[in-house]
Symmetry: C2
Subunit: 246 residues, 2 copies
Amino acid sequence: MKAPDPETLLAELDRECLPHLSVNAVIFGAHDGALKVLLMESAGTGTWSLPGGYVRRTESMDDAVSRVLFEMTALSGTTLRQFHTFGGAARGEAAVASALHAHGIDVPADHWVLGRVVSVGYVALVDVSQARVAPSIWANSLRWWDLTDRPSLIIDHDDMVQRALKSARSQIDDLLVETNLLPPTFTMPELQRLHETILGRSLDRRNFQKRMLELGLVERLPDLRQGVRRKPAFTYRWARRDGGSA
Amino acid sequence: MKAPDPETLLAELDRECLPHLSVNAVIFGAHDGALKVLLMESAGTGTWSLPGGYVRRTESMDDAVSRVLFEMTALSGTTLRQFHTFGGAARGEAAVASALHAHGIDVPADHWVLGRVVSVGYVALVDVSQARVAPSIWANSLRWWDLTDRPSLIIDHDDMVQRALKSARSQIDDLLVETNLLPPTFTMPELQRLHETILGRSLDRRNFQKRMLELGLVERLPDLRQGVRRKPAFTYRWARRDGGSA
DNA sequence: GGCAGGATGTGTACTGAATACACTATACGT
DNA sequence: ACGTATAGTGTATTCAGTACACATCCTGCC
């Protein structure tokens, strides 16, 4: 993002972006067995919301949300999946005014950014330790929150988190494949702990391993993971998907 | 809808609706064992597309799509379910210009209705015989097409139909409950034929009945359906759902 | 009135996926 | 070397979904 420029920011927004439309990303991360979600605090308001942004006229929504994610975390190549679009009539983002005001930008009261905005929700799973969280014009504070101990969010963003979580859990295999949430090679217990963190419940080791292998999601490598202070574990990597058409 | 008024239609659209946003409805109907989809022909172009409309600034998207459905079919109370939002960068609706031009309305080339529009897709199942299909400003022709024998559609509407169908089939129980696709009381074979039409495959009678009853979707009534020229069948009605919270 | 035909009603067996569960093996720390 | 913590592995059960055959009842024809 550019540095805040009182005069041109709003004009640029109007010229380059689709009005009344935003994308929001529910970014889940796993750290130390706790499920985290990335939230931002609108400057000057103390209110928390989901990271999001506007869609440029020449970019697809998918590209827009990838860009937003990159701007906020410096992560690219992450699988972002659309899960729902929120189009209630009462969706207005008063927090935007405060955020912009904190940067010396006055927004006309009738500007669309303060009014009703339809928001397309995307969900992603990322590695907390790889994300380089960076504040922006919209967010003076951006940080990971424990999912079970987070502030309440503006408008319907709490609902978005709930839906995103449900969606992420139901597509967990799909969302984890080929992501950077795990190193290129990993052990089965590592993969299982990740699943458990995301699903919020414990899984049986034997059933878990059986399922991963039966689904052909991972393939075992000849090496063992040494260096840990326990029994060495087999290492695995994501299996190449054999292209199955619809 | 109002009668086309060259001067005010566009102004009204700008004033009352959210720009660059539309809702589209994939309306499936079953008739004589064939799965139908409601399509409209943009006036003057001969190109076919899904019914749709714009979202008023004071109504929710859900309300907007219900209104569109009502305007086109006079059906109300139908369950419409959002299934996906289409936000590709190349979404422009040239057909709109022709449709409006056919009504003597000239659209400036840079107006948003001709440019990129993000479209929120909804799906519904309705009774073909109850729908009173009515042309509108946007559609000079509106009719049911056999799903397997339909014209190709503009932009990504063919993709929308595919996704909608997949979504409808996976939620069939949910979409059929309490709808007007069947009379208040119906027989099990009637319900089964409806399922078969929507799913596009035949089902086993015993398994089907067992499943419907096990899921508690229907409850048997004391009466038999007479008057048919076969063995009389039990009648059923939709069972009241015992409110289960998430 | 009897009989053939077609549609309706019903229960059991099989298969596959998910679940529950216990013991052996290895490295580290003492 | 011995205890402990973690990793590796197979079998039995349950549940959902699927496959399948025969009796019943009404209609229409003879």
